[in-house]
Amino acid sequence: MAKHEFRYFAHEGLSNMFSHGFMSFAAIGITVACLLIMGTFTLVAVNANELLRDLEQENEILAYVDDTYTEAEARALQSKLEAVPNVASATYISKEQAMEDFTAQYPGEALFQDLDPEILRDRFAIKITDLRQQSRTVQQVKNLEGIAKVNAYEEIAGGFITVRNVATVVCVALILILFVVSVFIISNTIKLTTFDRRDEIAIMRMVGATNGFIRWPFVYEGFLLGFLGAVIAFGLQWALYAAVARGVDANDALQLIQVIPFSRLWAPVAAVFAGAGIIIGVGGSLSAIRKFLQV
């Protein structure tokens, strides 16, 4: 594209945008709203995912060693446990250590202070990589010789997975719906411009302008609408996120929730907003101009 052509397209696109100020305002507004809703849900999902990952990491399976095993034999099971697929780590806890942990939970209660560690079993605290495969992993650990019993909180693991899956599905569905709505609104705004300029388009076609030449000013207009929407949405998203993060930090009841700082998220958010805004804008303008280009 020649420099003078680019200047012409940019000028035409910009003046198209201003000539339908209200519709352009509406198109930018709806893009901002859609990106903001998409962004908010995505950020909630990202934070929920991070929280779930933390919880996953804290989720432990306890594998109890057979009473008849000596400490040396019990420790030897570690390598076998770590060889089981999906096992991230296996930490040996002797019966003495387990008793110390137990009594530490009840400080000052004489009833639990003089217990013999021999009433407990040596055990392994196992962390797994993928919660979804926990049942199979538990079964494989149970099948190991020397493991007497396995305790796992499968309902909690299942709950984590359900929450994450629902958040992901809702997020994807919202993104798809809002994306289509945005494209539709921008497409209608550009249609108004093309309708207003139908004589001009007809003359351009009559004198031999290529479809590309006719299309570019409208594509540029759509690009501008989408990009402006993305910039405004990004600013608002940043402010909203920071306000919510401050609110969560200040609330004692929500101390368990660690909000990811926006400084870690701004780059992907900016890239996704800009990309989505441009795709919405350009997609909308291409769909609007299509029927005017039929020869």
Partner: protein, 230 residues
């Protein structure tokens, strides 16, 4: 050169507008295309500009075969034509200069070329002082001269004028037709569709008469035949 060979054209609603027309217009010719309303004149213009495709026969325009032209070649073919309409079709919110410059830009002309060509063409049609006027500030005759300037500005081989005097009084019609003759004398092929018998007779050019989708007369010197007002 324009060549139509056994061309037939039927619209989707079943109207058979052209029924086997064969016609040749050589480079540099001035031809009047006359006939009553509904005779098929406008359909011929649409066929020549690639707006509609023939159902049968072959059409060659300035080296392009319109009958089986690809979509990519249509703009290139149209650049060899300058079309003038009865209703001028000027962009009212653009000045005379901008009405011309935007069609030059549409075919990829640069700013230097535009600055050089537009004053020349405006001078040719006698509107060099109206460059900054808007179409609504001009008379009908002046608006049609802007339309002629717009048709000429990309230096086409052929000018096709569809009822160019339809909205003008007799004096302005004569003035405009004289301008088209002058353009023809500079080497451009001119095809004028009209039903103004007096005007046709006055210029003594080749006249092709169309009636009911057929060429019923093709002669030089003036209109021959019945009532062309339909």
């Amino acid at each position: 050169m324009i060549r139509l060979k056994d061309v037939e054209m039927e619209y989707e609603n079943g109207t058979k507008a052209i029924k086997g027309i064969t016609l040749t217009i050589e480079d540099g010719e001035f031809v009047f295309l006359v006939g009553p309303s509904g005779s098929g004149k406008s359909t011929i213009i649409k066929l020549l500009t690639g707006e509609v495709e023939p159902c049968a026969g072959r059409i060659m325009i300035n080296g392009f075969s319109v009958s089986n032209i690809s979509e990519r070649q249509i703009p290139l073919m149209r650049r060899t034509l300058g079309v003038i309409f009865q209703d001028f079709r000027l962009i009212e919110k653009k000045t005379v200069y901008d009405n011309l410059s935007f069609v030059m830009r549409a075919v990829g002309a640069g700013p230097k070329e535009i600055r050089k060509r537009i004053p020349y063409v405006l001078n040719l049609v006698g509107l060099e002082k109206k460059a900054d006027s808007y179409p609504t500030e001009l008379s009908g005759g002046e608006q049609q001269r802007v339309a002629i300037a717009r048709a000429l500005v990309n230096n086409p081989n052929t000018i096709i004028a569809d009822e160019p005097t339809g909205n003008l009084d007799p004096d302005r019609s004569l003035e405009l037709m004289s301008l088209l003759v002058k353009i023809n004398q500079l080497g451009t092929t001119v095809v004028v569709v009209t039903h103004e018998k007096d005007l046709v007779d006055r210029f003594g050019k080749r006249v092709v008469t169309i009636d009911s989708g057929h060429v019923v007369n093709d002669s030089v010197g003036g209109y021959v035949g019945g009532n062309i007002h339909g």
